[in-house]
Amino acid sequence: MSESLTFHFDVDGEDFTSAGQASVQVKKNLRRLGISPEIIRQVSIAMYEGEINMVIHAGGGKADVVVSEDKIEIILVDKGPGIADIDLAMQEGFSTATDSVRSLGFGAGMGLPNMKRYTDEMTIDSVVGEGTTIKMVVNL
């Protein structure tokens, strides 16, 4: 089987309180495909962190989850401010989140490190002032 399935989500940057919903939806879809609970957890955590990042930093964006026979790809595209120093951004505890976001319990600087931890591959393409594209792969 060479076909793949794509689940597309528009992540709304206006409404902070709705952030995290695409992750729940992805989880439900993956359950329908009979994917193992451990893989579903990895994908939904990576997806959740990515979704939150797009809402906090980029005013929303687009997320595609592509399921194929041997892997699940998560592609997050936003037109936000971009990441100036990716190595720094990958450090645990580093965050540029505002105080108001931190007061909600976010902005702990664990988003990107967690996305890397829970996926098998992760690449970040970012141009300051233009936006960021993150691709993650979880192998099945």
């Binding site: 089987m1 076909e3 793949s4 399935l5 995290g20 992750s23 729940v24 989880k27 439900k28 879809n29 359950r31 329908r32 495909l33 009979g34 609970p37 451990e38 579903i40 957890r41 939904s44 955590i45 959740y48 399921v67 026979e69 319990g105 967690n114």
Partner: protein, 421 residues
């Protein structure tokens, strides 16, 4: 086969779609003009009983009158029972009432709950356990976790719920006090606030079989009790429960008793789902303990209770006011939880959402679902008999519904009809 306790009276059901839209696991469909419950998905939460405008849904319970053969009948009242009465000053009045309506003895589930609290504190101190520990007292939550949150199975506290601890203690006490009876002479009657506990008792969990013999509805007992309870009689029986035991009846009671601030208590099935999603994704603060109750307000919100859960909770507050904190303590220096209150049994994880056993077939079906969903009106009206357009698309692909059932698509546009006339 799992024996459910939520049942449908087809003759009363009008197929109105109210339950369809409220079922948290999308277990209901309307077929041939009435509701049908998918038994694999139903978690016996009782939400459909709560919302049915025609009283067509009910919880299957036994009648006290039908079980008079037991020589020694023991009532095991859930603490939520105490919250049902107006101006109740003393729990003893309720216990005496139970004797007056025909029970030979009473063993309070709240008493066992105090031991469960003590065991919980011990368990939280054990090494190598998965945190946060999730309470296993609400059977609906336990079933939900075993069906939908397999990753959290190890977080469930492996301690039997208070009902079972109460049942074991009650039987032991009866045999000690009445050596003239055989074990089979003793009948343990649990007075249940909810269908979830009824199902738990009927099915057990995994290989564990419940110690309860008969489950009767709190509602049934309430109506017998109000006739029998008299304030002025001096009860011959005294409650053996403190604030903690009674507190288990409402949300937050169980967790506040663990004497540790790092806990969360959530109630109402939607909130329970949200909290479980959050724990699974790891995006909640570090917690020691999580108490989840499927019913709003906790057990006082069970569909087999009489009183509004918030009123019941307030009443429990006044009942609790002059009680000692806890009456049932483990002997000092107890470091181990007795083997007979531990239970690691869970029903096997069944991937109920899975479309097909074959991954490629699931992928094909999922693609078809997405395609069909795109053609549906997307207003989730429920007229086709499925709860949402998405669920309808899935039902079509699973071969359980036909697209012609969509009333909206098959309705000619209103403008044309008006032109004809």
């Amino acid at each position: 086969m799992y024996k459910h306790s939520v049942e449908l009276d087809v003759s009363k059901c009008t197929g109105c779609t109210t339950c369809l839209r409220h079922c948290p696991t999308e277990a209901i469909r309307i077929r041939d003009g009435h509701a049908v419950i998918n038994e694999d998905r139903c978690i016996d939460c009782g939400e459909c009983i709560r919302v049915c405008p025609n009283n067509a849904k009910k919880a299957m319970c036994s009648k006290f009158e039908h079980y008079q053969d037991y020589k020694w009948k023991i009532a095991l009242p859930a603490p939520s029972l105490y919250g049902q009465f107006d101006n109740l000053e003393d729990v003893d009045t309720v216990l005496q009432g139970l004797l007056d309506i025909g029970f030979d003895d009473v063993f309070e589930v709240a008493k066992a709950a105090e031991y469960a609290t003590e065991y919980t504190r011990l368990y939280l101190k054990s090494e190598g356990i998965k945190k946060p520990v999730i309470s296993s007292a609400c059977p609906v939550v336990v079933r939900l976790i075993s069906l939908r949150y397999p990753y959290l199975r190890d977080n469930l506290m492996p301690i039997l719920p208070p009902i079972e601890i109460a049942a074991k203690m009650a039987r032991k006490k009866a045999l000690e006090e009445h050596p003239e009876f055989k074990e089979s002479d003793i009948g343990l009657f649990f007075i249940s606030p909810c269908p979830g506990k009824v199902s738990y008792i009927r099915n057990g969990f995994g290989d564990y079989k419940s110690e309860i013999d008969v489950v009767i509805s709190l509602k049934d007992v309430y109506f017998k009790l109000i006739g029998a309870m008299k304030k002025d009689n001096s009860p011959a029986i005294a409650s053996e429960t403190g604030m903690i035991g009674v507190g288990w009846a409402s949300s937050g009671g169980e967790s506040s008793a663990i004497l540790n601030d790092d806990y969360l208590a959530a109630d109402g099935i939607e909130n329970v789902n949200k909290v479980l999603d959050a724990i699974e994704n790891g995006n909640i603060p570090q917690l020691e303990f999580v108490e989840l109750n499927a019913c709003t307000g906790g057990c006082v919100g069970g569909v087999m209770t009489i009183e509004n859960p918030f009123i019941a909770r307030t009443r429990l507050h006044s009942v609790r006011r002059y009680l000692p904190v806890s009456v049932n303590r483990l002997p000092k220096g107890t470091h181990y939880i007795p083997e007979n209150v531990l239970s690691y049994e869970l029903p096997e994880y069944t991937p109920i959402a899975r479309l097909s056993k074959s991954f490629s077939e699931s992928m094909r079906m999922m693609a078809e679902i997405q395609e069909i969903k795109g053609t549906l009106p997307g207003i989730d009206c429920g007229a086709c008999g499925s709860p949402t357009c998405k669920a309808f698309a899935e039902d079509i692909v699973r071969g359980q519904a036909d697209i012609s059932l969509c009333r909206v698509m098959n309705c000619s546009p209103k403008g044309e009809e008006e032109n004809d006339s």
